[in-house]
Symmetry: C2
Subunit: 137 residues, 2 copies
């Protein structure tokens, strides 16, 4: 049995975050000490590692809750997990595209900043006048 501090060290998840995940219904300690402190099993640590990993990959708490539920039915078909991950991948790709468009716009704005005063600074002008933009956004 591990204290919350030990679990935090093992998983890299901060102590208040572990408590937050508990409140969100992702994990709860297997036991409590006589003095009401959380005590985690090895299984709990594994589960928190799973959560951490999924968060690192950008899965939302709700999606993680679903993935945990799925993992509790090892004989169920895995379409569910696959669908969640694929949907997430699509979101990530969309986000990348969006950011690339921003990048291009910002690049253009920054590189054009030829002026020496704010008055003729392209950065300020481009922000004031949408007409200077190449794409809609």
């Amino acid at each position: 049995m591990f204290s919350i501090g030990e679990v935090s060290k093992r998983t890299g998840v901060k102590v208040p975050t572990i408590r937050y995940y508990e409140e969100m219904g992702l994990i709860s300690p297997s036991e409590r000490s006589d003095g009401n402190q959380r005590r985690y099993s090895r299984g709990d640590v594994e589960r928190l590692t799973f959560i951490r990993h999924a968060r690192d990959l950008g899965f939302e708490i709700d999606r993680i809750r679903e993935l945990i539920a799925l993992s509790h039915h090892p004989q169920a078909p895995c379409d569910g997990a696959d669908r969640i991950a694929s949907a997430h991948l699509a979101e990530v790709r969309q986000k990348i595209d969006q950011l690339k468009r921003l990048e291009a716009e910002l690049e253009r704005i920054v590189s054009h900043c030829g002026g020496h005063t704010v008055e003729d600074c392209y950065v300020i002008r481009a922000l004031s006048d949408h007409g200077l933009c190449e794409h809609e956004h």
Copy 2:
């Protein structure tokens, strides 16, 4: 003079958001009607367009406040605006890199999902076992 609803239509910024920006100190209406309703000038509308545009490009409220302050000193050197925009561009690029790494990882996880049951589903296994990952994250 425009009502908040008209301004909203002209700029595409939602009414509660305009009020929120006011609370944040980005704009305030030039006047109030006798009945205490907000009345905006043409200049106010331009300013809100500036804000909207900057937000679309991902600038934070605080950065926008700085840009507005700069735009009020047209004779000042424009290094400030340039620096803010360049820093933002760097952030955007970093975010893109990060998301690309996620994309690669998720691609790998999803494409490997060969199993039919959760038990041997790569998605679940990859999340449980960090060792299956290619990169640190």
